[in-house]
Each structure stands twice: as structure tokens, then as C-alpha cells.
Symmetry: C2
């Protein structure tokens, strides 16, 4: 695809031998200038050493120059040694690039509980060829994702490029979502951090594949200023659009998924309730199964809504699937065959009006398929 | 099986024609004496009229004489008419039994959004033959449960019998858990209500099949005093044992399940954290898939734990599956083939020590199978 990175960024990857498949698995993303950055990481209490280290760097408030990522080993639940190995990964990258180790972030995804073969990182890192393109990096950070995920935008001359991996399984462990967004716009770190928190809440945090949060998730944005300043009111919406596109791509590539589901909740009493309601519907195993079977089973949407904690009166709620009204305070007559046919699509939109207030929220998910079960049960051990 | 009800209780069922299959679908459970009672119902905001009516009766604090249950139609999301139909169902039962309508509880399970054919209830109710046995009632309240669920206990001469239905699907809607426990012990209503709340929290509320809470769930206990008083300190543990046995049976009969999972969390900082941790592990789609595949994938248990909100230090956590230690602050060496073999069982126990405090909690669940997806996706519409 050849996606050019914003000015001043380079990236690359190599086959370090961490993935049993022998595919590229060690990747580096570098800014020629110190970059302001913002970062949101998993809330999982069993978080990996890379997450703990990232949080500490974030709290220090310094600039960032590089991210080194290994795919194949989460370096999680690896005891005290895991923390040393994670730091070593950062040191090797810092040495290669000639930058302070506190300006190098680490990220890992893959098997849990197996020590990181850090000597493979030491051998592999010097072999990485850095180029102005995102492609090799986007490919190397994948686990069992089916496709690389890249999104881009331009704002008055400044460029934004986002790269993500989604929910794929490496034996014997869990999916991890990683997102790296880079821009050559000049942005004050404080403004970037404040905006990023909200953007992540409205995009990556609204994706659900199976309700399991990984120990290694993170979403990063780096702004190196190589282009110069741009108006924040134009920049942040473009940044959010890039994050949203990555979020959609992650949901679409969920394990075993055959389709992308977008849930749009309007008329909520608060923004948080709108988002929570959308997430709960997108995450309902019963509705996700119905989606797979092309069954316009609005009762499951209503029941999921009832579990979300959002306030509503069932007599005022309205539900549409693919634009077809199914429920409005009570069952509506509809052509079941036509509705089922409309659900046989790559993308299915669920629209719910709570009839309570002015707030809206969107979430993304996918269907629950026999393929999901097979990937996570039968094709392991 | 012929399970005799406690003294003074009778029950029966008939084929009212509500289930498309023509199976028994209208059931009555009656106490000859006014009974003290306690009741916990779904938190779902889209709760059915029967739930709203039950809550109002509960708040009035009067005695209970009977429960009338229809299986086949949840009478939920049926608009204003649903409330009238629900009350009519209670009235017809009250007329037949010659008791005040405020002493008759209703319960419904089945399809959402379709008006209840209340005339079938009117025709069917007089045909119900009441007997001193639980069996016909236990059979009629099922939807796609595979087996009736009954449990019993005796406390110093008083008897306890519990009857439940679990998670089965009726096209096009969701599973519902209903539990009815009756005893001939004499119990003060206040003491019963206080104890029941805790018992339900430790038993029925610790069951998870797919994370979707129904609009029609309820768990009821009735005590008619026909036997006389028994010591509460002996009675409540026996009542809890009956509830626990029903909870286990519901989990084992989860949709598509091939095995029962019991998750026991010890060493938690609070009881609520212990229970939440156990529930989160039992509900993890990733771990449930691994369970199906007999994969001793403890990383998924640790990751689920990390999402539960319970406090712990990963370096102090211990995890066992079927009594085999897999993790103790780090990966333990274990025979993967032997552990997988041990998971090929009807019941699998997960044991987790958080290493934080003295509290324990148990949850029950089942594996996530291709059968679950098929039941809920492919075999509908």
C-alpha cells in the first residue's frame, strides 16, 4: 500500500525470530525530532511491564523519540525478569538510535507467561531498516490479525498517520490492541494529552470484540512539529477521524468476525450513558449471535440496553437495524425476510433512540461466530 | 423423578398452547396457607410487567399464596397491554384458587415483543391438576433447557424444595432464569427477606452463561409454616445449599454447554471482590473458549482477573485448574498434556488465590461452544 509517514518519522521492521511463524515481529517507529505525546493504556491489573514503564514515562512528562514493538511475546506475567527484559528492549533501541532511554516507549503483544527472548531483540534491532513508510511496521505488529490497519488524514498541510493491530490470537494467549498515531503538526503536550483522552474514549474504548481487555493494550499519539503549528480546532477532529477509522478496522477484523457492527445510540440522558448503551449492545453475546445469523432479533437489543445502566423508558425507545424500524415503544410490523436480507452485509448499523435527552454515542463490534470459538478453542493446545 | 413438595404445597401444569411445540407451558404452584416470601428480580431496565407487578407486591409486604408461570411468552416489550395481560393472568389464577389477587405472583419466560395470548391462559388455568409433586411444574417452566432442575433438603423435619429453569432460547428471544423455592418451615418474613438477598447474591447471581441478563429473571422463596418453626441458623444454610444446587444445574445446562465450570476465588480483600473476580473469570469469552478446547491457558484467567476490578498483585497470585498448579507469581512448569486431559471432564474447577486477604467467592459458568453460536444464530429466523 505504501503509506508515507509524516515528515520527520521513519519506521521499519525485521524478523527477529520471536513469532514461531518466522514472520516480521520486531518493529521500530522513530521521530527525528523530540515529539510531544499522549498515551492511554489498559486498565487491566495484570498489565505487562511495558505498560508500567509507559505510564512512568508519561508521568515524567518528557518528550518521546521512538517506539519499539515486539509481536509474538506479551512479556506479561513473566515475574521480575519481565521488567528487566522490557527495559533492555528500550535500551537496545536507544543505543541504536543514539537517544536517551527515557525517550523510547516499548510495546509487546503475544503469548503471556513466557519469558521474552530478549537476545533476539538484541540481535534483531540493528537489522531494522528505517524508511519513510508505515507499511513494514504495520505488518510486523500484527499477530493473527488478517490485515494491516492504517489510516491517514491531512490538516492544512500537516499529516496524520495511524497504525494499529487488533484482536488476533497467538497461542496460547489473548488479543491485544495497539495503536500508534504520528503527526508532523506542532502541538503543545498538555493540549494533546487532554484531547487524546477524550478521543480514545470515543473511539478505541468503544470497540468490543469479546469483552476481554488485554494486559498489553495501548493507544499512543506522537506529534513532532516538523511541519509546524496548525489550528487545534481543525487538527483534533482530524485526529479523531484517524482514530475512528482504526477502531472500525479493528472491530471488522475481530476474531472470526464476518461483519462490522456499528451501534449508534441517540437521545441519551448523558454522553456516558449513550456510550455505555452502545458498547453494551455491541458486546451482547446474544445479539452478536443473532447478527451472525442475520436475525433481526430486536428483543436482544432491548434486553442488552436494559443491562447497560443507561436510563430509558421502554415505551419511548426506538430501534432500527439497517435503517429498518423494528421497535417504537412496542413491536412494529416489519418484513422479517427483508430485514434479514438487509443484515447480510459487510457492515450492519444498529440505531437506538433512548428518548431521554440530547446525547449520542457510537460503538463498534462484530458478530459472534463459530469461527471465534474455533480460533480460541479448537485450534490451540 | 417424583419430587414431593413440602407440606401444604401443591403444583401442576397444562398445555395451554403458548409454546409452539405444544409442550406443557402453563404452571401453578400453590400454598394452602398464606406464606411469607422473599424475592429478587432482574435489574434489567426493560423488565417485563410480571417483574414490575412482583416488585409492587413485595413492597406491600403481604403474604403469598400462589405463583402462576407461563413459558413460551415473556410478555415483555408488549406496551400498555402487557400490564393488563399480566394482571389478568394473576386474576384468573386467583379466581380458580379463591385467594386475593394480591397473593398471586406471576412469572413469564419466552419470546419478547409478542402480545401474551391471555385467552389461552384463561382456558388453560382451570385444566391444571394440582398434585403434591414438583415434577409437572418443573417440566412446564422450561424453554429450551435440556433437563428439569430440582433440588431438595431437610432441616430438622422441615423440607425445602427448589425448582428452576435456566438459559435456553425460544425464538426469537433470550434466556430467562426462574427459581422457585418452597418450604414448610415457619419463617418470619423479615428474616427470610434479609437472608434471601444474601443467598441469591452468593448463588443465582454468581451464575453466568453469556453475560446477558434477561428481562424476566426472578428468584422466589415461599415459607408456609405448615411444619412449624426451625432454628434459623440451621435453616438458612440448607436453603442456600438448595439455591446453590439449582445455580450449578442452571450453569451446567447453559446453551450449548458441554461442561460445568466452578470458579473459586480465595484470598480476596473483600467478599464483593472475591465474587466479582470469580464471576469475571467464569464470564470470560476467551477463557470459556479455552475451556471448551481443554486448553489450560492460565494467561486468560489472569487477564480476566485483571479486568474484574479486584485488587491483587500478579506476583502473589496463584492459579490452579483441576487441582493442577499452573501459575504462582509466574508461570509454573506443568505437563500440558496431563492438564488438558484433566480438563476433559463434566466439571472443571478453577481455583485462584489473590493473596490479598481472607475473603472467598464462588461462581458457576460453562464453556463457550460452537453449539452456543448455532443455537443463537443459525437455528433462528
Amino acid at each position: 500500500m505504501a503509506v508515507r509517514l509524516p515528515r520527520g518519522f521513519r519506521a521499519g521492521a525485521t524478523r527477529a525470530g520471536i513469532k514461531p511463524s518466522g514472520k516480521p515481529d520486531l518493529a521500530l517507529l522513530v521521530s527525528g525530532l523530540p515529539a510531544s505525546w499522549a498515551y492511554v493504556a489498559t486498565q487491566n491489573r495484570a498489565a505487562a511491564p511495558s505498560i508500567h514503564r509507559g505510564r512512568a514515562l508519561y508521568a515524567q512528562g518528557g518528550a518521546l523519540r521512538a517506539v519499539v514493538v515486539n509481536a509474538g511475546n506479551a512479556n506479561c506475567a513473566t515475574g521480575e525478569r519481565g521488567f528487566l527484559d522490557d527495559r533492555r528492549m528500550a535500551e537496545v533501541a536507544a543505543l541504536r538510535l543514539g537517544v536517551p532511554v527515557e525517550e523510547v516507549l516499548t510495546a509487546s503483544t503475544g503469548v503471556i507467561g513466557v519469558p521474552l527472548p530478549v537476545e533476539k531483540v538484541e540481535t534483531g534491532l540493528p537489522q531494522i531498516e528505517l524508511t519513510p513508510y508505515a507499511d513494514a511496521f504495520a505488518e510486523a505488529i500484527l499477530t493473527t490479525d488478517l490485515v494491516p490497519k492504517v489510516a491517514e488524514a491531512e490538516v492544512e498541510g500537516a499529516r496524520i498517520v495511524g497504525i494499529a493491530k487488533g484482536s488476533g490470537m497467538i497461542h496460547p494467549n489473548m488479543a491485544t490492541m495497539l495503536a500508534f498515531v504520528v503527526t508532523d503538526a506542532a502541538l503543545p503536550q498538555e493540549a494533546l494529552r487532554e484531547a487524546w483522552r477524550g478521543i480514545v474514549d470515543r473511539t478505541f474504548n468503544q470497540v468490543t470484540v469479546d469483552g476481554d481487555t488485554s494486559t498489553n493494550d495501548l493507544a499512543l499519539v506522537m506529534a513532532n512539529g516538523a511541519y509546524g503549528a496548525v489550528p487545534l480546532e481543525a487538527f483534533f477532529p482530524a485526529l479523531e477521524a484517524v482514530a475512528r477509522e482504526l477502531a472500525r478496522k479493528i472491530a471488522r477484523d475481530g476474531e472470526g468476525a464476518t461483519k462490522l457492527m456499528t451501534v449508534r445510540v441517540v437521545g441519551a440522558g448523558t454522553e456516558e450513558e449513550a456510550r455505555r448503551a452502545a458498547r453494551t449492545i455491541a458486546g451482547s453475546a446474544l445479539w452478536k449471535s443473532a447478527l451472525y445469523g442475520n436475525d433481526p432479533n430486536w428483543g436482544r437489543i432491548l434486553a442488552a440496553l436494559g443491562n447497560s445502566g443507561a436510563r430509558f423508558d421502554p415505551l419511548r425507545v426506538r430501534i432500527q437495524v439497517q435503517g429498518i424500524p423494528l421497535y417504537a415503544g412496542g413491536a412494529l410490523p416489519f418484513d422479517r425476510e427483508r430485514a434479514s436480507q438487509a443484515m447480510r452485509a459487510e457492515e450492519v448499523e444498529v440505531w437506538v433512540d433512548l428518548g431521554e435527552g440530547p446525547w449520542e454515542g457510537v460503538a463498534w463490534g462484530c458478530d459472534l461466530t463459530e469461527g471465534y470459538v474455533r480460533i480460541n478453542a479448537l485450534y490451540t493446545t
